[in-house]
Each structure stands twice: as structure tokens, then as C-alpha cells.
Symmetry: C3
Subunit: 301 residues, 3 copies
């Protein structure tokens, strides 16, 4: 394995399978993850250029569960105006004794940072609209838990695909597995990069898309990234694209609903479906900690 | 005991006495509290919807003294607009492996949260204008230290009663004890809920109220909560309601002055009285850590 | 030694030499510092009234390397309006069990705080325009590493001297050593306190100043402190006062370039010189952690 985890494509199918199996060993059998004092000499810095609650806390808790020291390093967006200053800031912090940086950024900066700092390890916690490898591993673990395989599945991804690094990273990673049918759907104004595109199978009608699905992955409408020129009527959106209990009946009887969170409740997913047995959204949160423990362990070793 | 501590009324007199006695065991004999590595496997999250320095740090230090992992989770007030979103945020964080939430909120949300999340423990760090149980336990410990009893005392509470959860929580808790005379006093515009009210003994004149008091508890004027229509003349306020050394002579010779902090110095309390032997305000701060260690220990066990 | 470290002048030459030698023992031989669990019972609070990334992180990492508990205590500038309120805030936090305060402040407050609180330890992390003792010790360690002595050196300090506590603290500390030639240089509008002043040897022309230098210490232009009436033309500044590889040739062959960071890259220092062998700027960062470990250890003991 590379010293860094920047893109899911850097992992072989074997790497992915091993990380998932490794993550499962961290569960404590009680819904949580074990505490182990494996890396008391390692310091990990969370450097988030975008706001994040879930991913940041998930990495912080994973690092603490492994006995690492953690540093939360808040950089205002302003210090990103010059590429050099980000490099120098990270380089300086690394010189103080930080072993690994967990970075979230709206701009793609990780590959360049990793290249400029060969002695420092970088883990991508969400970058641009393309890459979010630990979310993808979390999603794969969740599918594995319920379907016992990552092959031969019909997977429907619905929602704001244009702004979704979760979706792009998933599509990238799932290509390692076989015989899956991937169907993309969602409001055409939020899926413009996936319509009329040879690489993807886009279906405009959600009900058509859901038929016989094993996995339904709903995405968050990223209001903060949607340009004001794209006006989505919320009532129309809900009528056409909300995943609810009724629509979920179109999928297979044992189909599961996933969502990376946070959910715009009763918009992209109905509240009753969110709380139903079909939803594994809350399991994804717990699985995220286990996956990050596995990733940190492997890349610190 | 309940799994949560939301209101002082949930504790029996026996619970309160036990928590106070338990807290005293954490003192290191040198003005501070002992460090004990009792709960290395527990993670505690501080979730403060209102700004707080003292209570937040006090809980954080208490948790660290007990060997817990601590997470500071900052939520902007904006995320409280929908009750559901607070629930989902806390639920999500709990799924990452947080055992207990310490919550401060201007709105009463704890009972509902605790009800919705039966598997998670909640401790109230100040909620609305009604409830602040760990402050009340701290006040009781401070009284016990100096008076050796919580019975047969004349207790005068003076100041901004209308906005004070400290006062309401204290009044609630002290009703467990016997033969106390509780006198409320303060500027009428700041005590409107306590005047002409059968439940309370309000005296407008501070000097009259202070006569033969054992305990004088001054409250902070909460400028940030006072509506602009209520204009208090500061000079008049000080002339009529400042607790100073001269006025303190009206109380018993061994009377003590308490205040939950932070003090508006030389407004509600004179600086010379603050620094005098009669003031136990600084003891309340140290006692707060011991009480929170006792509360965390009992409710984590 | 004093219980506090507020000014470099409080340390004897012997104290300084011992702290430098002590700091060197913390290096792990691999570019970083050792982790030692020496002070698990000590709690250190970082109280920064000014923004700081490097110094704050450096102290936090040093404290954690020594096994201390650390508290980051953010005070907005607003709470400094009254001297008393800073005192009461720090006093209150100390009562919760904080053993040592690391303080950065734009106003000189440390001497008064230390005087008012004889039972609490204070370490200056940069105060006003005068004092920054741990930076000076870091600079001395860096010189010692490369020159093996703090005597008989020609040291040129160039840049925004007027606003530099780094420079004043260095000048103060270096007076303990012998036979050094100290030359100050920089744009006259940024050196007004050092021109026509009997105490200092100021030379307006940078090239003249650099001749045969052993040490070149460039300073950061502190734009945030420069009054708008002082307009510095950046192109002119670079032409006259940028330290670059060509100019560095005027110094001795083994001269080193220092800078406290962060560098205004390609303004006060050229990027190619920053990355050259002559630059020890990145070593200063690592040395800063070792020095702070030494200072914390000595003053906690």
C-alpha cells in the first residue's frame, strides 16, 4: 500500500477486502468499537478546510480509540488563498512531530501536498467532488454486513449526484467487484454530469430505477453547493425523488437504504423509512469509526 | 438513580447526601482534586448550545480527572431550529461511541432527548431558566463544608432571580431539607416571578432580608437575557442591591457569601467583600470539579 | 529559577545554557522529540489572547509529549477590557486544578497576573512587543546546533524590528554572551525605535550589514500591526530588504538564515533561499518543541 490514502483507486480489491475484514475486528460486540492503546507514540492532526461534524469526529474518535494523540487544527478558508501557505503550514506542523494528517478540502490539494512532503502521511477525509475513500470503505463494510458480498447486486444511487464525492468515490471503488448493476437516478438538474454519458446508466424515473434493487443509496442535497440559478422546487422534488417506505417496496424485500448523512429529513428520505428496519444509515455511522480505525492502523504501521 | 441527571428533583435527599459525601472523597487535601484513571474506556461529549467557560471547563476537567476521553462538540445555535436535527446529531455522535452527553441549552430539550435515546446518558449542565442540578449540588457541598448542615439555616438569595436557573434549581433542591428560612430579595424588575407569589417569601429591602442570615447567595445580573425594555439604573442598583462588606454585617457573624460566577464585580458584589474571608465564591469553583467528578462517576457506573 | 518565565532577563546565563542542554536530550534522533509520561498529574492551560498557530501548537505538543493534560482556553479579546476580569477568569480556571498557564497577549499582563496569583505558574508565549522568551531559547538552541557557541558571532537582524518581540527578546538574551557583533537593519519606517539610538548598531543598507555575518535573522513583516499611515511599497521593499541567495553570499560561507515564521514568502525571504541548505528555519520549528518540553519540565518541577 501507498503511504497515503488519497483516492479509493489507489487500493487494490485485495487491499479493500483486507481493510473491511480488519475493521470488523474492532467491533466490541456491543454496537461500539474497542479501545486499544496501540499507537501511544503517534500524533494525528485533523486539518479540515471545510466544516464537518461527522467525518471529523469519526476520525478523532477512531484515533483516540487506537491510543493516538490528536490535534485539531482549524484553518480558516482564508489561509488557502495561496497554495504555498497551505504547504508551509502543514510542513511546519509536521516538523513539530505530527505523524499523519487527516485532511478535508473543497479543492484538490492532497496529491500535491503528499508529493511535496514525502515523509508525512496523508489520509483524505473528503476532497472536492471526486474523492472520499473512507466513506466508500464504510459503505462497502455496511453492504458486506447485510448482503455478505459486494458482487451480484443491484445498487441504485439517488439524489444530488453532481455535487457528490460520496457517489463518485463509491462508483470508483465498486468497479473492483463483479456483476453489479449500478443505476443512477435523481432530479436531472442535479445529475447533469451523469446523463447522456456512456459510462453511467442513468434512469430519470425513480420508481423504474428502484425495481428489484438490493441497495438504495440516497444522497444529501448539498444546498450549500447548489448554484442559485438551479432552483429545485422542494415539493416537486419530494413527489418525484423522495425515498419513502412505499417506494422502497419496489426494491427487493430485503433491500437496504443507505445515506452518508446528514439527512435532509423528509426531503430526500422520509422520516418513517429512516427509522425503519430497512435503513442501515445509523449502522453506517458506527461502521465509519471501525473503518477509520482500520485505515489509521494500516497507514500508521 | 435514573440513568440521567436532568433535574435536581430526580434525586432523593439520600441521593444528594451521598453525592456530596462522595465528592468530598475526591479532594486531594491540597485545594485540588485527585486524578484517578477509573474510566479509561468511557467517552464523554460536551455539547454546549450556549456559551460557557466555567461549567464546560469544570466538566471537562472532572472527566479528565477520572480518566475519561472527552470530546468538545460545538453546535451553533442554528442547528437547533428543528428539534429533530438536534436529536439526529446527538444520536449520530452517540453511535460513534460516546457514552454520556453533558448538555447546556437555553431551551428545555434534555427530557425529550433522554426519552428518545434510552441507551444514552445525559447530564444537564444548565438548561433554560429552571434547571442546573450540578450547580445546586456544588452549592450544597459548599454550605455543608462551612455550616456542617443543610438544615436550620437562614438563606438569602439576592439578585436577578427572574433569569436564574441557579436560584430555581437551588430552591427546588433545598426543599429536601428542614427548618430552613429562605428569603428572596432583589430589584423588583428582576424578581417579577417571585413577588406576590404564595410559594416564595420575597422582601424588597435587601437590608431587611439580610438580617441574621447564615447564607447570602448573590446572583449574576444576566445582561444578555434582560430585555431592553427593562432598564436598570446601575448606580441605583448598586445603592440598593449590591452586597458589600457593610451590608454583610447585618447577617450573622459567621455568614458566608456565595455566587455562581462570573461576578459583575462591584455591581452585585463589592470587590473587597469578594476577596474577604466571608466569601466562599472561589471555593465553589473547586467544589464544582469535585461534584462533577462524583456525578460523572455515579452516572457512568 | 523563578516560578514563572515571563522575560528572558529572568534567566541567568547558566539557566539558559542548562535549558538548551536539557532540550537537546528530548530529541529522538529521528528529527522529532521523545514521548515521555513524566507529568501525568499536571494540567496545562493554553490561554491565547492573540491568534497563534505555531507557538500554541508547539506548547500543546510539548505538553502532551511530557504526558500533561492540556486545556485550550479561548478568550475573545472582549473579556480583556477590564484587567480584573482577566485575573478572575484565570484565577477561576486555576481553582479547577490547572497547574500552569501558557499565555499570549498583545498587552503586558503577565507580570501583574503572576504577582496576583503567587500559587500559579505562568509561561510567556509572546507578550506585547517586548518579550517572547521561549522563542529566544529556540533561536539560541538553533545557533548552538550549527555554530556550537553563542559567542564571537556576527548576527544580523533584518526586517520589521519595530513590531518584533522576537528581536527585542533575542537582543535581551544575547547580552549574556560575549564578543558578539549585533547589526540591525531594515526599512527605516519599520525600524524607527532602533535608528539614532545609542544602544543599537543600525545600518540602513542590508548589503553592508550582511558582510561576513554568521547568523542572519530575518523577521516577519507584521502587516496586522503596521499602521495604515506607514505605507511600504512591496516591490521597493523586496529590492532593498529581501534576503535572497545572492545577498546571502555576502555573509560568511557557512552563515545560516533564521526566521521565526510564518514567512511572507518571496517578500522578506526568497523561496529558493528558504528551501536551501543555508536556511535553518524548519529546524527552528522542531527545536521549538524541544525547548518548550525543557521549559515546561523545569518550571513544573
Amino acid at each position: 500500500m501507498n503511504k497515503n490514502l488519497i483516492n479509493i483507486s489507489e487500493l487494490s480489491k485485495n487491499d479493500i477486502d483486507e481493510l473491511i475484514a480488519f475493521a470488523e475486528q474492532f467491533f466490541d460486540g456491543d454496537g461500539g468499537c474497542k479501545r486499544e492503546n496501540i499507537f501511544p507514540d503517534k500524533t494525528i492532526a485533523n486539518v479540515f478546510f471545510e466544516p464537518s461534524t461527522r467525518t471529523k469526529l469519526s476520525f478523532e474518535i477512531a484515533a483516540k480509540n487506537l491510543g493516538c494523540q490528536t490535534i485539531n487544527f482549524d484553518i480558516k478558508n482564508s489561509s488557502m488563498k495561496k497554495g504555498e501557505s497551505v504547504f508551509e503550514t502543514i510542513d511546519t506542523v509536521s516538523l513539530m512531530g505530527v505523524d499523519m494528517f487527516i485532511i478535508r478540502s473543497s479543492e484538490p490539494i492532497l496529491a500535491e501536498l503528499a508529493n511535496m512532503m514525502p515523509g508525512v502521511k496523508f489520509i483524505n477525509a473528503g476532497e472536492g467532488t471526486e474523492s472520499h475513500p473512507t466513506q466508500t470503505l464504510t459503505d462497502f463494510l455496511t453492504i458486506k454486513q447485510t448482503k455478505d458480498t459486494l458482487n451480484n447486486l443491484k445498487i441504485v444511487i439517488v439524489g444530488d449526484l453532481d455535487h457528490s464525492r460520496v457517489a463518485r468515490s463509491f462508483l470508483n471503488g465498486i468497479s473492483n467487484y463483479e456483476e453489479n448493476e449500478i443505476v443512477l437516478t435523481g432530479h436531472p438538474d442535479l445529475c447533469s454530469n451523469f446523463i447522456n454519458n456512456d459510462k453511467y446508466h442513468y434512469v430519470e424515473n425513480l420508481d423504474d430505477a428502484l425495481k428489484d434493487a438490493d441497495i438504495v443509496m440516497a444522497l444529501r442535497i448539498q444546498h450549500e453547493r447548489i448554484q442559485s440559478s438551479t432552483e429545485i422546487d422542494i415539493d416537486e422534488y419530494k413527489a418525484l425523488y423522495q425515498v419513502n417506505s412505499e417506494r422502497m417496496e419496489l426494491a427487493k424485500g430485503d433491500a437496504i437504504l443507505m445515506h452518508p448523512g446528514p439527512v435532509n429529513m423528509d426531503i430526500e428520505v422520509s422520516e418513517s423509512l429512516y427509522h425503519s428496519d430497512k435503513s442501515v444509515i445509523r449502522d453506517q455511522v458506527s461502521n465509519g469509526v471501525a473503518i477509520r480505525m482500520a485505515v489509521l492502523s494500516r497507514f500508521l504501521s
